[in-house]
């Protein structure tokens, strides 16, 4: 099926994306050649003009500025604001300029390549840095990224910048008050959505719990155990902690009170008084309001290590 035609029989142009018409196509009768058509067609621009074009030098300056901020500013948030373009925008932009030189690029193609080639620089850069001495470090990343951006920018400048279609050069925004208000509503919506979700909530139906742990410590001559209690209960909770060695029970804490999220640790020394057939030590946690043993852990100590 043929493409839709205009009443005069000519093909109706779509909103084309880098499309090319068949060779031999003619200008419609009466149409004028755009002023920059020669440039669009790839005509050479003088080297003097190329070197004066500031865009890629701005990229180089931007890369150096970003690198300087990373080195000099200790605030992570500020560094992040400069590192995102340094890692995810400038390398791709510069490589695109180097590869495409004077050729036509739609702005969406430029955007796609800027992001895509920035990722290419990061992925291949990580493989490269992996084999150099020192590996992937902050300094080596900075040097690599700046080198990629500067070299690609110089190559792009020497070869001539990628040209955009005439319409994309006239990109300007006209923001009305209503537009600004609506954008503000959108921004507030997005911001408040994150604010709502970042704030942890109480969860009355979540099942709280407590954890008990015990690990041997000390030495063979002066053995001891570390016992910890962690409360992730919904309310402040009172516990009783016992330690059983052989046939002897020892109260470690008879009224241990912990708030939700609070934890405590006991270092309980064990005296070497007599030998025993078993070196197993048992810690038992009782919780107020709960019948029976709530938590129980054990530690296997050297057989001669037993307290009184």
């Amino acid at each position: 099926m043929s493409r839709p035609r205009r009443p005069d029989g000519s093909h109706r142009p779509n909103a084309l994306l880098g499309a090319k018409v068949p060779p031999g196509a003619r200008l419609p009768p009466g149409a004028k050649v755009p002023a920059d058509a020669e440039r669009l067609a790839g005509a050479k621009v003088s080297a003097r003009v190329k070197m004066r074009d500031p865009r890629l030098w701005v990229v180089v300056a931007g890369a150096l500025l970003c690198a300087a901020v990373v080195v000099l500013v200790p605030i992570t948030l500020v560094r992040a604001l400069f590192v995102v373009p340094l890692c995810l925008i400038l390398p791709g932009y510069a490589i695109t300029a180097a590869v495409f030189a004077k050729r036509h690029l739609e702005y969406q193609q430029r955007l796609m390549l800027t992001l895509g080639l920035s990722f290419v620089a990061l992925v291949l850069g990580s493989l490269l840095l992996d084999v150099v001495p020192g590996g992937l470090q902050k300094g080596s990343w900075l040097i690599l990224l700046v080198i990629v951006i500067v070299v690609a920018s110089v190559v792009g400048t020497l070869r001539g910048l990628p040209l955009e279609r005439r319409r994309s050069r006239r990109w300007s925004f006209r923001v009305t008050r209503v537009d600004a208000l609506l954008l503000l509503v959108g921004a507030i919506g997005a911001g408040s959505a994150f604010a709502i979700t970042r704030h942890p909530r109480t969860a009355p139906n979540a099942v709280g719990y407590s954890a008990l742990w015990m690990l041997p410590s000390g030495s063979a001559h002066a053995p001891s155990v570390n016992i910890g209690v962690i409360s992730n209960e919904q309310h402040p909770t009172r516990y009783r902690l016992l330690l059983r060695m052989g046939r002897t029970d020892r109260i470690v804490d008879s009224s241990l009170m912990l708030r939700p999220g609070q934890q405590t640790k006991f270092v309980v020394p064990l005296s070497v008084s007599r030998s025993t057939s078993s070196g197993m030590v048992t810690a038992t946690l009782y919780k107020d309001g709960t019948s029976g043993v709530y938590r129980q852990v054990t530690a296997d100590l050297p057989a001669r290590s037993v307290t009184r």
Binding site: N14, L16, G24, R26, E38, T76, D130, A193
Partner: protein, 628 residues
Amino acid sequence: MSTITARRRREIAEVTAAVPSPPVAVRKSSDGSLGGVPLVAAIVGVGLVLCSIADSLSRATLAPTPWIYWAGVALITAPVFYRLCSPLPTTRERLALVCMLGLALYAVKLMRAPFGFTQPDEYPHLFNVEQILRYHHLFHSDSLLSITADYPGLEGATSALAMVTGMSATAAGIVVIGAARLMMMVGLFGLIGGISRSSRVAGLGAAIYAGNANFLLFGVQFAYESLALPLLVVILACIAARDRARASDSRAWTIVTLLCIAALVPTHHLTSYLLIIILVTLTVIQLTSKRFSVAAPMWPIALFTVVLTLAWLVVAASATVGYLSPVAGAAFESTLHTLTGESPPRAAFSGGGVGANQVNDLGEKVVGLASIAITLAAVVGGLIYARRRYRFRDQPLTLLIVLSSVGYFGATALRVAPAAWEIGNRLAEFLFVGVGFVIGSISIDAFRVRGRRWPVHAVFAAGAATIVVGGAILGWPANTRLANPLVVVADGHRIQSETYEVGRWVGSHLAPGTRFAAPEADAATLLLYGRGYVATNATDYADFILQAPTLQGYEIALWRSKHLQYAVVDLRVRSTDNAAGYFFGVHPPAGPTDELLPLSVATKFTKLPAPEVFDSGNIRVFNLQGAG
């Protein structure tokens, strides 16, 4: 002005004709105004608030209706589709809308887990980044999903941001995946626009892609495929641009295509293999087409990809074959068994998880099924239209993408076979690009109606929003679509779930590299926060022993041969579900109470005797060193 030769004049004529003279309506909106973007942005903002409210209520265990969430998703998507249907927006506005859609839905994923990554594949990848930050080199082993360490593209890129800024690996990962999502949307716009030569088709096609089942959650998890798939789309967009470029431009497009392929191969195995299939198919089509001599040859790119992928497989990722072949084999067997009736098909809406909470609202089921029906109807209509509009013989890539829309339904059918579910799910994610293109193609003629157009646009927007919402319903288990309680406030203080607590306890009290046998969910936190070596059901069939009520006698010797020092017993059935196992248990009405394994599962280790060093009620850690 220099003298213009006849040849140059012809080139100028080509370019001038290629610059579209926009229709009157487009001219009106291309005067620098923002078109419909501000209004759509405001509505999207409201949609995000609804999603965050639903997530917060869910995290607060107040059991909100899921329709708050879906209303939010619909508010994000429908206005974008409605505006994209209109002939008024400029190409820039369409691109802005498509990017807004992609990023807004990414924000929905972020709001679901604001305290860190909680999706299954995110733990091993985040661990890999932390290993790079710690040791300054790639390829450190990852016991939970060892294959991820052999494809360090995502982790390498993330480590750059984390190292240079000093931000956490999680924050760097969020930025990287956000940039990848943006690249995905721009790449889809470029790909579909490149083959359709229409920004309207490009906008609608790229936006429709949000209807694939993995787009909302799985596709933006911090995992290698989330970067690889956008790279694949960019590669295809470059190939589409290369096919239409002049010979002199073609070389530049070839270079960037090869660069992107060089980055894709060390990023993800399956995506690399899919790219090989695409490129080899394109080469075959091109070689059998009468016009192949005038198009840029595809075989050098295909050859480059094959050689690079094989080289990576041999040199760096030889474990890939052992990793993928059992999955593919099981999927093949399961499909055969399902087809022959030897095994029952997988129940619809059962999700990918285990345990309780696999419940779908009836309305959700209806929307899920409606999305499939609408997609099918739209693709059939789109195929009829595409057959008339595109000359496939000259455009092999277009043919391939159109065929992929048909293949999407084949991949969806694979979800019926239990073991083929995952492969079908992944394939569908790739093939949905074709669905987007085919449905987007309808817009050229379908919206060219006499009289009022807005009802047609509204119907299309509603249908498209249904595809997106239904796709999300189909793509993720019901119990983990909304946020679950991971960190909550109790009596004014923060408390965290048992699974996280055991991971952090191990990180504080046991040496890095300590070896554990553990269920999947606990293994993830032991790996990430405990820096332990983990043996799971996926790696060592650990659940078989961990969940047995008694020991047969050989188990401890077997684990000792693997140098495992600790066994982690989790009595909750959902601990083996690597999507749902991380969160607090809940009381009704927030959800069903946890289903528990018998206590003998834990006491069998006590009888050895093996010291029990940690007890949080459901989770017990046993020291196997020296145990009988």
